[in-house]
Structure formats: structure tokens, C-alpha cells
Amino acid sequence: MADVVAAPEALRVVGRAVPRHDARDKAVAATAYAADWALPGMLHAAVLRSPYPSARIVKLDTARAAAMPGVAVVLTARDVPRNTLATDVPGQTATVGPLRATLHVLAEDRVRHQGEPVALVAAETLELARAAVEAIDVAYERTPGVFTPEAALAPGAPQVHAAGNLLAQWRIARGDVAAALAGAAVVVEGEYTTQLVDAAYLEPESGVAWIDSDGVITIRVSTQVIEHFRDVAEVLRVPQNRVRVIGTYLGGGFGGKEDVTVEVYLGLLALKTGRPVKMVWTRQESLLARAKRHPYRMRYRTGATAAGEILGQQIELLGDAGAYAYLSALVLLYSTVTAAGPYRVPSVEVQARVAYTNNPPTSAMRGFGGMQTVFAYESQMDRVARALGMDAVEIRRINALRRGDRLPVGQVIETHVALPELCERVWAALEPPTPPRAPHVRVGLGLACNLQPYGRIVWLHDWSSAWVGFEMDGSLVVRCGVPDVGGGQASSLCQIAAEVLGVSLERVSVHIADSALTPLAGTTTASRQLYMSGNAVLKASRELREQLLRVAETMLGAEAATLAMTGDLVHAPDGRTLALPDLLRECARAGVPRGHLAVYNAPAGEPVDLATGSGKVFPDYTYGAHAAEVEVDTETGVVRVLRYAAAHDVGRAINPQSVEGQIQGGAVQGLGYGCMEEVLVEDGINLTTSFATYLIPTAADVPDVEPVIVESGEGLGPFNARGIGEPPIGPPAAAVANAIADATGARLTRLPITAERVARALGRLDGTN
């Protein structure tokens, strides 16, 4: 499985906190983000969106808008060559039947959520495009909608789609839960509610498309998935090799740029007008219409022995998919698999459902269904500990998964689980406790752990590819189709190649995210890029090294296996060296390629029946433990997080600075989820479409997050790294809830944990909410 772990001191580049090549550019505003691009003769595009959550379009007349001077084109569903984007979702057959997730490019006769795109305009200026959108003559007839998953699944509910409102359902049944709970010394019951939240990246959805001189429709776009060039081709009914997507450095993705955003619209408009077109969504548009994180309602019953061993857990999950399927079925699968947490639970029953409603659609967001469940299972863990008078670390230590254990879904854990160490490290980091500064203030500590898969579901047969090669002067080139969402994806690849091929980091150039020119690497999602593309670059680099050393072998008269590559030189055991340019010249003469393409295939498998619990779903998992110290004002309910520590076992930190960035950013985003963020929707109408109403934490609202990097040397990635993109967002909400319980005894079960909810839980308010 894993490579032999090199001792950290033997590594020159990997494992060092080297400054990323993209960091300086971003700091001095030299990075050309998607919206920074412009071409001569470029048009500007705008979208007409539905104001209603559920309505029939009874009139859609674009004549007046199209006739406006300066308007190049107005498009509706009728103008889209193939108006449906479709993805088959594997594994979802049990109750719901085979699932084909479909989405209309532009609404046809019905709109199913507020903000659903109805028509497109391209015009000479943005102002004109917006004026033309307003000039489109559109009339709707409102139809009854459903606005909670409970209502959607009730008999007689209005149907969002013809096939019914139950979008997907997963089930796990392992052991005899009823018997386990009956035999437990303590049974804790809880119901938890999580809210709709937005990715809220700084950079909104944006891009520019043009038809290049080779006739290829070229789209330069902010995306996590350049492979959407295929979707664009489908919609336009052109061959897939006539569409090219160039991915830019992202100003944040967080899953919100995993599904198609502007690229299909841009492709359509460029094709119809023959001119370059730019589309940039406004903040309001992004907050209004972009797919968000699923709100969940979760019911848990957890039984444990008097010694604190968890015996069984009965779990019911219900999610709100909004109006379209997007990735809801898979998000729910993540929730199902992670529902019992990073613990050994002999008997588990999970019933998970997700339903269509006329709310804003939900899809991928950092944590991908592995997030909501943390709030529930870690609150439950804390309640069990409290019921038994046990310490927070102790209960987690005795129940933590260990290598060889099985998850409820039947998957065997094959790598080390560092959970006890992670708990102890964050707990120690918050010593000594802060004394309360006033009589009405209480201080408490909370702990929360999580597990998050890295790498895609094994039955998706994931792969990544990369090309690594030398130029004649000994400078190195890496080509890999990875989109860099800001996590340092590209920069880590450079470190890996530099490490293996013995050149300094400054000698490496990396070309990323171009569907025509870089080997495809798959999506920057699922905490998979370091794991997948890191392995592809590692493999390409190692194979290239072998290829080159076979030539050096003859030149130096020493066996390849005895040669070392460092400092732009090949070293023989006797101290003789060979300059890299000399070796490369010899390769050229002998016809030995100076570059190499490699494909990395992740461990693959076939869909498992979750219910019978028999198999592998994900390649592996990353584990974490977070601890929060909070101060609760027992009269106003105001909660301040005083200190925060977050530990993850990343196997090996390729760039510790990037790892710390992921941990701190994830923890802060998770604190926003825990304490303030909420997209408020009333009967399908979004009430929070600006940053004045959709509140995300600012630097002044969060404590310093102390990152604790643990390197177990076990992971499936390059140099035994694990993915760290998503994991740190999981635990904060539960850590804060547990700390509030520690401080006051009040148990908060609904997110976000606002001051008002805390005041209510403390009995300061009469009414219920």
C-alpha cells in the first residue's frame, strides 16, 4: 500500500513551509482572476432569474429586449441546443430507483426556485445587458410549492418533479440496534437541526468565453472542475474536443464551484454571437441562486455501557435538496457513512433521506455531508460522557476507531487512527483555563472530533494524470489539470517534483487547469487533489528519474540504483558528479524522452449495498479533534470563543504552511457555521442576499486558531499524506455547543448558535422558538 516513509530530515523540499509561488502574486494583486480577463470586442452577459419559488412561465417574449440597440442576443430555453444537463448517480436504486440528476440550462415551462435562470442576454456593456434583462416580457402564474422536506414527503404534497419529492435514500443496518439500546446502561436521545448556508467565497462566479483562432470554444472560468468542458459540449451539441476550459486561480470554491456555474451560459453566448463574452455574477445573484449546504434534521439515539463504550446508535437524517438534485444523493451518502463518527459502534441503524423542495438548491460544500453529522454525533458523545460523569477525552479514547475496525458501512479501517493523541494535544493546548471575568459570565471547554473521507467514492474509479519533464537548461516543467482553489494545490505539486528530481523549487514551473493542454487531473473536490494529483506527479517524477538515471548510468559508469539527484547534479557514490544539462543533452542525442506522463488510479471498487454493510466506500479518512474555550454571558446569551485549537493527522505535511492555512480557514468557516451564518428563506424567498444580512465571521469575530499538525506517516497520498482540504470545517459547531454545555449546562441543538438561542436555552426568554 503506502510507500516507505522517508525520514523527514532526508527530505529537502517536501515537508518544508516554503512560500507558495502564488502567494506573492495574490498579495500584490497580480493574479488574473476570471473576472480580470478582457478581450477586444467583448460582450457582457446578464441572466434573467425567476422571482418566484414555484411558478409556471405563461409568457416569455424577448422581442423588445433583443431589439434594443447594443444588445447582441437574448436566449431562452428554446435557443439551447440541448437544454438538459444530466448525471447518473450510481448506487441509488433501493427505494428511489435509478437516479438521473437533471438540470435545465434555462427554465422551460416551470420555475422551481427563486433565482432559477430563465433567459440570457449579451450586450455591448454590462449596463445594457442588465437593462435588456429588465426589458424581457415575462409573466408567471404562481403554483403551490413545498418549503420543508417534511412537507415535501407528506402525502398530497405538491410535486417539485414528476418522479416524486423523495430524491434519494440510503440505509445502513448493522447489528441489532434495538437490543443494543435495550441493554445499554445509558441511552441519550437528541434531535439536531442544521441550517442552510452559503459558500460565501470572495470571488463570485465568473468567466470569459471566446472562439479561439483554432475554432475551439474556449472558456476561461473560475471552476473546481475543468472537466465540465464535456457538459458544455453536450449542451451546445458540439464534439467534446471543440470545447476548452481554462481554469483560473480561484478566489475560493468551497464546493460552490463544483457544479457548472457560468461556463455553459458563456459557451452558448460565444457560440451564438461569435464574440468574446464575459459573465460575472453579482454578490446578490451568487447568494440568491448558487447551490448551498443542505439543512438537516437529525435524530439520534445512542446507547453506552456504564464504562462508556458505545453499544448502538439509531440515526435518522432528513435533508433539504432544494429544487434540483445536483449532488444531493452523494452528499447524503457521505452523511450516511460518517453518521456514527470516528467511533467503533457495533450496532448501527441509519435511515437517511433527502427531499426536493422549492427552496434554493443545495449541493457540494466543503465537508460534503460529512459536516452536518459531526454536530449531531459529537453532541451525543458529549451527552453520553456527561450522563456517565466521564471526561471528554476519555470517552473518545475508549471508543475511537482503530486500524482493523469496521465502519458501520462495513469498510475496514486500514490506516492508523490518531484520535486519542489529537484529543490530548488540543486539550493541552487550551491549558490553563481562563477565569470568568464577571459574575454573569461562565467559561467552558468543548471538544469535538470528526472523520472526513479524502478521495472520491471508490466506485467512481477515480484517476489523475500529470506530466513532468525537463527543459534543456535543467529547469523543470509540471503539467497537471488541477484547478487551484487557493489551498496551494499547484505549489504542492512543484514541491513533490522538485523533491524527487533533485532541483530547487525555483527551477520548477507548473501549468495547471487547461482541459486542452494539461493532462486531466479530475476535480478539486473531496479533499482529493494532493492525494490524487500528488500521487500522479510523484509517479511521473519517479519514472522520469529512472528513465534519466539509466542514461546517467552509462555516462558515469555506476549503477542507476546507486546514483542520487540533488542540487541540479547527478551524484555517483565515489563523489563524481554529472551536470543536469549534460545529462539532458545526452538524452536528446540518444532519443530518451526528457518528460514523462503518468496516471494514478485510486483503489477502485463496485457499488456496495450499504444496508448489508459489506464494503469499501472511500479510499481512506482524515481524522481531527478541535477544542474550544468559550465564554457565555448567561443573561444576554452572547457567546465568545476565547481560544481555539484544531488538530488533524495529515499523514505527512507536504507544506506545513498550507496545512495550517487549511486548518485555520476551515475552523473559522466552521465557527461561522456554528455561530452566525444562515441563509434565511421564507416560503422559498431568500431574505439574505447581501453581506449586510448574510453574516460571516470577520477577523474581529474569531480567536486565533492554533493549528496542531500531527504526522502519523500513514496516508494514501504522496509521502503518505492525507487530504486536509475539507476536514477542518467539521468539528467547530459541535466544539462550541459542547463548550456552552460545559459552561452552563444548556444544550444547544440548533444551528447557528445565536445569542438569542442561547438566552432561550438558559431560560431567559418565555416564548419558544
Binding site: T282, Q284, R437, A438, H440, V441, D633, E635, T636, V638, M676, L680, L687, T688, S690, A692, T693, L695, P697, T698, A700, D701, T754, A755, E756, A759, R760, R764, L765, D766, G767, N769
Partner: protein
């Protein structure tokens, strides 16, 4: 979004500004620090034909003490007031309130007059002026008017300023000796408008008895709420814990807040009571010469 097109003038004297405002009447908007006006323009909530920028009128900025009052020019930056030793000494309640207005970046541009003229129902400054019974000095075509807070603040974002008029100054009484003050608030995030804010001032005599008290709340109604009944509890006696509790109860009874996205009316009412008690308690401590107390 971007603002709709508008004309722009930057007069250099009050007279010139008044002439422009008189000429354009309702079509004109005054631009002070722009911290509220620019977002309103960008959201197209206001569509003036002309923006009259008063930032180039030096006479409108400055802090002076005259005859027992502190006179603060409308264009005085909030940050300048926050950092003024004169304000801290002579009108400590105003000094207490300043750091709670937005973020320092906002206060570097935002002005005293802009905040008062904007009349946001959750803003700090209207409550300070209401608690202290200050005067708002307004100039227009008909000359100068001096308005009491209850004559100036009408409703949400609404004052009795007429088109063509300019708020030129605010006057606040200098605090008597042995006065302690406090401004406490609860907001969703650091720098956000208050869910509830309380301005309190307490004056003691040499024996420690309360000879004067004032309380005003923000965020609990369309205009600042002066809770006279709450303040009255303290006057005439030595302020003790029972009196402070009672003052809090009365403040909660005096407010009729609305619910909105950020908090329910019930929560705001509850917090109004708690914060009134705390603000008065801290004011008393300070009047007694005590040190810093807790923030909510």
C-alpha cells in the same frame, strides 16, 4: 450594483452648500463620510440628481467648548471624536459610544453629522444625544434652527431636516462633576449595528446619592427611546443593586421593539433590561471613581 448617474458639486463654504441645496431641493443629497450614502446609492435605494459633497468645508469640522456645552461640527470624523481628550473629559458618554460604531475604518470616514442625519434606528449617536438632551443645529434658507432630539428624530431613517437644510453642529451639555457614564450594546458581530444599545449617565453628590440620571436605548424602536422612568428610580437615593434591577425592569417595560432577521422583539426587550441595569451599574461605579467594569 453601481450608483445611478448623478451630478456632483463640492462647495467650499456653508453658504455655497446651502445655495446648492436650496436650488436643487429634494433632488440633492448631502455627501458627508459616505459610509451610509454610498451603499444606499449602490443599492439604488436613493437616486439623487445631484450629490453635494461637504467634505471641503473646513468650517463644518471641529470640537469646541462653549458655555458649558461641547459643540461638535457636523463634519467632524467619528474617529476624531473618539480620540479627542476634550470629549473624553467633558462628555465621556460620547467617548464611550464611539468605539462601538462599526469598525475604525468606518469611523475614519464617517462623521458625527452623517450618523445623526442618517438616523439609523440602531445607531449609537442618536441615543447619546437623546440621553444627554443635546441640541441639533440646522441651517437652511430660513436661517438657523436648534432642535431637541425628540424634535429631530421622527422615524426609521427619517428626521425633520427639510430639503435645502444642512445639519451643521451638535451641542452636548458638559458632564457635571462626579458623573459616570457607560454605553453598552449587544450586536451580532463585532462592528455591526446594535441589536440593543444603552446609553447611561449618572451623577452623584458628595455623599454618594444620585442627583441626576439618564438612560436612552437604541435598536428598540424607530427612534432612540429615552427611558426616563428607569433613570428616575435612581435619583434621590444611593444607587444599589435593587434600584439597578428595578431600572432594568422599567427600561424593558418602556420599549416596544420589532422583530427582524437578527433578533426577535422578545429578545430585544429582555436585553434592553439587562443592558440598562449594566450600563447604569457601570456608570455608578465610574461616578464613584471606580475602575473598568465588564462589557456585555
Amino acid at each position: 450594483m453601481k450608483p445611478p448617474p448623478f451630478d456632483y458639486e463640492a462647495p467650499t463654504s456653508v453658504e455655497e452648500a446651502l445655495a446648492l441645496l436650496g436650488r436643487h431641493g429634494e433632488q440633492a443629497k448631502v455627501l458627508a463620510g459616505g459610509q451610509s450614502l454610498m451603499p444606499m446609492l449602490s443599492f439604488r435605494l436613493v437616486r439623487p440628481r445631484i450629490v453635494v459633497d461637504v467634505n471641503d468645508i473646513p468650517a463644518l469640522a471641529g470640537i469646541r467648548e462653549v458655555d458649558g456645552t461641547l459643540a461638535i461640527g457636523a463634519m467632524t470624523r467619528q474617529r476624531a471624536v473618539e480620540q479627542s481628550a476634550l470629549v473624553r473629559r467633558r462628555c465621556p458618554l460620547l467617548a464611550d459610544a464611539m468605539p462601538q460604531i462599526g469598525h475604525f475604518q468606518i469611523r475614519n470616514r464617517g462623521t458625527i453629522g452623517g450618523s445623526l442625519a442618517h438616523a439609523d434606528p440602531a445607531a449609537e449617536l442618536p441615543a447619546v444625544v437623546a440621553a444627554l438632551g443635546g441640541r441639533l443645529v440646522v441651517r437652511g434658507p430660513g436661517g438657523e434652527r436648534q432642535l431637541a432630539p425628540e424634535e429631530f428624530f421622527v422615524s426609521y431613517l427619517t428626521t425633520t431636516l427639510e430639503p435645502g437644510e444642512l445639519l451643521v453642529e451638535v451641542r452636548l451639555p458638559v458632564a457635571p462633576p462626579s458623573t459616570g457614564t457607560a454605553f453598552v450594546e449587544v450586536s451580532r458581530r463585532h462592528g455591526d449595528f446594535a441589536l440593543v444599545g444603552v446609553a447611561a449617565s449618572v451623577t452623584l453628590d458628595e455623599a454618594g446619592a444620585c442627583v441626576g440620571a439618564a438612560v436612552a436605548l437604541t435598536g428598540v424602536g424607530p427612534t432612540p427611546v429615552v427611558a426616563a422612568e428607569a433613570a428616575a428610580v435612581l435619583v434621590g437615593g444611593r444607587p444599589d443593586a435593587r434600584a439597578l434591577e428595578e431600572a432594568g425592569r422599567r427600561a424593558a417595560a418602556a420599549v416596544r421593539p420589532d422583530s427582524d432577521l437578527h433578533a426577535s422583539a422578545e429578545y430585544r426587550t429582555h436585553v434592553a433590561g439587562v443592558l440598562t441595569r449594566r450600563a447604569l451599574a457601570r456608570a455608578v461605579e465610574r461616578a464613584q471613581g471606580g475602575g473598568e467594569a465588564v462589557t456585555p
